[in-house]
Amino acid sequence: MSALEEQIRSAARQYLENGDVSVVIGYERGPKGKVRPAFVHQADDAERLVWSPECNLNLVTYLHNYKHSPRRGVPVPRVAVVVRPCDARAVNLLLHEQQIKRENVKVIGVTCAGSEVDGELRQACTVCQERVPVIYDVLVEPEQPVEVPEAQDDYGDVAEMESWTPGERLEYWAKEFDRCIRCYACRQACPGCYCFECVAEQVFPHWTSIALELPEKYFFHVMRAFHLAGRCVGCDACEVVCPMDIPLSKLNRMLAKEVEALFGYHTGDDPETLPPLATFSPEERLRL
């Protein structure tokens, strides 16, 4: 058991013993050895919690399940959640969008050395400069400080695609969206996607058909990317959960790059700054 795991467990145990929270959301190992989200309700169960680079989802998504009172007269549950630095930005996002209250959430921040998908370090993690979450109540630290990679994110992959012709890009996305089965795993895994009724499923107004052709899939993915413009925290959970391995993070990274270049905004730095599409500057004239 690593030092990180021990700290996560003891934080969880303490929260549950003191009655600070009713559930701790972390990771456990399933019977076949796969890492998966775990919900710990009893202090004794805290031993189930694990930490490893395979923990690549964004558990902040689950906070949406705990943001309402379950019954009249029962208070909103208090929850503790284990987060990586990118997930922690989603906590700030939800705080800013008034989805959760700070006093109802305990954040167990983990000093992150990058997460893996299928045994390989995620591409975003190889250039991530962030080791400590922007928001936490307990910081889980390793014995040795984690090194920050020298390479900074230059959005090289996005820039390369931007050098293609529109036809080539359409062909690329048509090929990728071709596999999409519209299972909406990307949407469900995303902490920023919490509409009561998604545009993709709305009947009135009827935005898009339920058909499974390129125009419908294009609409869904572009719509989702646009709704996350300036809101995406770059956790890549959408891409990780996709059963068809569609490189959805490319869409989000492209928008993150533009948002940074145009508005100098980085999602989730703090819960106060207005996101770029919720504000404006009267002087600016953007290329249209």
Binding site: P37, N65, K175, I181, Y184, A185, A211, V241, D245
Partner: protein
């Protein structure tokens, strides 16, 4: 029994591709999907389990089922009939999945017209599994890696003198018609026994499931469910659908609409949401629990076959590792502790 060499099989498949729409497992950017192929060279040979089931050919993810023309008078037309199709490389579990869907759409009145036309037009050529792969559990739900149920032809890989050879079992009339003129030679071969997985749970009977409906066990299993639809879409037996009428063209005095059917999933929140926003299955817990109860209690009780054929795709597709085998084992355990 007729035995084909790989070359003869390729030749026969090329021949089929000329006469039919031939669908087979194809490697589409790393994912194995049943797609139309022009000839045998596009087929992903040596595959284990495909990522999507061949259900996509008999029960497409989305298709028009009715054309509505509104003009001076209203006219209803059937959707265009499906082309004669041969699906090659169907695993025995997926063929049993097709039988399970038949129980609802064909065996009960009224039968589903469009589905019936698809089934009529489709011939399933099976490819027996030499072993049970990771997450496979067909033996738990009454199947076998070399089961012939639901198939028209079953090919089993046998040792040939040079390279792979395939022994052909003719199972149905449709299969017999298709196999007429097939190359290969008659030989006495013994079919290899598939390697079975060990340590699998035993499936509890439907009344055992009924008794466990309110157990806290379900809370634990379903708490991490994200509410996506991946498990139901990859499933060879999940058959729920949504229907919508959509305008195709609108001209003065004449509107053409299509009634579109698309897969739906009980695991997603809008599935049961009704007018006014009320949802009779309000929590993710009740929605995912329904999926398991549908498979092992409601469907067999109402229609006969189990709603699960043990292909293991949902185990692989689930982003948060909800494992149907773990659920079966859990219910088995609960049933055992309850009766003792």
């Amino acid at each position: 029994m007729k035995v084909l060499t790989q070359a003869q099989l390729n030749e026969w498949l090329n021949h089929l591709a000329e006469r039919f729409t031939l669908a087979a497992p194809v490697n589409v950017q790393g994912k194995l999907l049943y797609r139309q192929v022009d000839d045998s060279s596009g087929i992903a040979w040596g595959f284990e389990r495909t990522d999507m089931s061949p259900k996509t050919w008999t029960f497409p993810a989305t298709e028009p089922i009715l054309i509505i023309e509104q003009g001076a008078e209203t006219r209803l037309d059937d959707a265009p009939a499906p082309a004669p199709t041969v699906v090659f490389g169907v695993r025995p579990c997926d063929a049993r999945g097709a039988l399970a869907i038949d129980a609802l759409f064909l065996d009960k009145e009224p039968s589903d017209g469009q589905y019936a036309r698809h089934r009529e037009a489709t011939t399933l050529i099976g490819l027996a599994c030499p072993q049970m792969w990771d997450s496979c559990f067909c033996t738990v739900v009454g199947g076998a890696p070399n089961s012939t149920e639901g198939l028209d032809l079953l090919l089993t890989e046998v040792d040939g003198s040079d390279g792979a050879a395939y022994a052909v079992q003719i199972i149905s009339e449709k299969g017999e018609k298709l196999a007429a003129g097939m190359p290969g030679e008659e030989k006495g071969v013994s079919l290899p026994k598939p390697r079975l997985a060990k340590g699998l749970p035993t499936l509890p009977a439907s009344q055992e499931w009924k008794a466990q409906f309110n157990e806290t066990f379900w809370k634990q299993v379903t708490e991490r469910c994200l509410g996506c639809r991946a498990c139901t879409f990859v499933c060879p037996t999940c058959r729920c659908f949504d229907v919508r009428d959509e305008v195709v063209s609108r001209q003065p005095g004449r509107t053409v609409l299509q009634r579109l059917r698309a897969w739906d999933a009980c695991t997603s929140a809008p599935y049961r949401r009704i007018a006014g926003g009320h949802n009779p299955r309000p929590t993710q817990h009740s929605r995912l629990r329904n999926r398991f109860y549908c498979k092992f209690m409601y469907y067999p009780d109402d229609f006969g076959p189990l709603g699960c054929v043990g292909c293991g795709r949902c185990i692989e597709a689930c982003p948060v590792n909800i494992d149907i085998l773990e659920v079966i084992a859990g219910v088995e355990q609960l049933a055992a502790s309850g009766s003792s």
